[in-house]
């Protein structure tokens, strides 16, 4: 339960921080994570395999 609450707190802090909502600057650039050094994990489903 402690782990669950801690994880929830970390995620909430991460995603609700004001910096993450300042998404488009005055020049129209979107503040996403497509930048040098970023990593991501994807979960995907497909309609067929072979």
């Amino acid at each position: 339960m402690y782990f669950f609450r801690s994880t929830l707190f970390v995620l909430a802090t991460l995603f609700l921080s004001p910096a993450n909502f300042a998404q488009v600057d005055s020049t129209g650039v979107y503040n996403n994570s497509l930048e040098k050094g970023s990593r991501s994990v994807q979960f995907r489903v497909t309609n067929n395999f072979y």
Partner: protein, 181 residues
């Protein structure tokens, strides 16, 4: 996925596939005589593939980013299929047929992708991707069949088959969720 720059990323992908299928069919011919053929089929398959893709983003600093990419892929698939058939004519046995087929397929090829990534948040995005795959596939299949006639005669047949296939442009659509860290 690892970004070398805003426009360039490398992606390592692992694909898994499972399939379980069970089928029971009964064919009845009811005329002046009654003939019944009952067939039970079960099949299982498991597949694994690994690919590495180099992705190029056209418009990285937009809420919706388009990209394309290409890279090599290798994979294998194992499948197992059992078919049991029991035939009767006027309630007396016409024979039983049992077959078991195992196959393993190995493939090596490449993939070409074109997709779009929509950012819900700075660190979370949804992805829709069109993928075209071309590959050479080697398949080895072993089939054992035992036919038992109504008089008790048993015929045993074993078949080994090796196939070489090349396919170009097998396409699929992938939907995904990405989390950046």
């Amino acid at each position: 996925m690892f970004h070398r720059s805003a426009k360039l990323a490398y992606r390592l992908g692992v694909g898994l596939n499972f399939g379980i299928d069970s089928d029971d069919s009964e064919l009845t011919a009811d005329n002046s005589f009654t003939r019944v053929r009952d067939t039970e089929t079960t099949s299982n398959q498991f597949g694994l593939s690994i690919n590495a893709t180099r992705l190029k983003y056209f418009t990285p600093k937009k809420r919706m980013s388009f990209y394309w990419g290409a890279g090599p892929e290798v994979g294998f698939r194992f499948s197992d299929r059992d078919v049991n058939t029991n035939s009767t004519f006027e309630d007396s046995s016409m024979g039983i047929s049992e077959s078991s087929t195992q196959s393993i397929a190995l493939n090596i090829g490449g993939i070409l992708v074109f997709g779009t990534e929509f950012f819900l948040h700075k660190m979370i995005s949804l992805t829709a991707e069109y993928r075209s795959r071309s590959a050479y596939t080697w398949t080895s299949e072993e089939r054992d069949q035992i036919d038992t006639s109504s008089s008790g005669d048993v015929v045993n047949q074993n078949t080994s088959t090796t196939k070489h296939q090349v396919f170009i442009g097998s396409s699929s659509v992938l939907l995904g969720l990405s989390a950046y860290f």
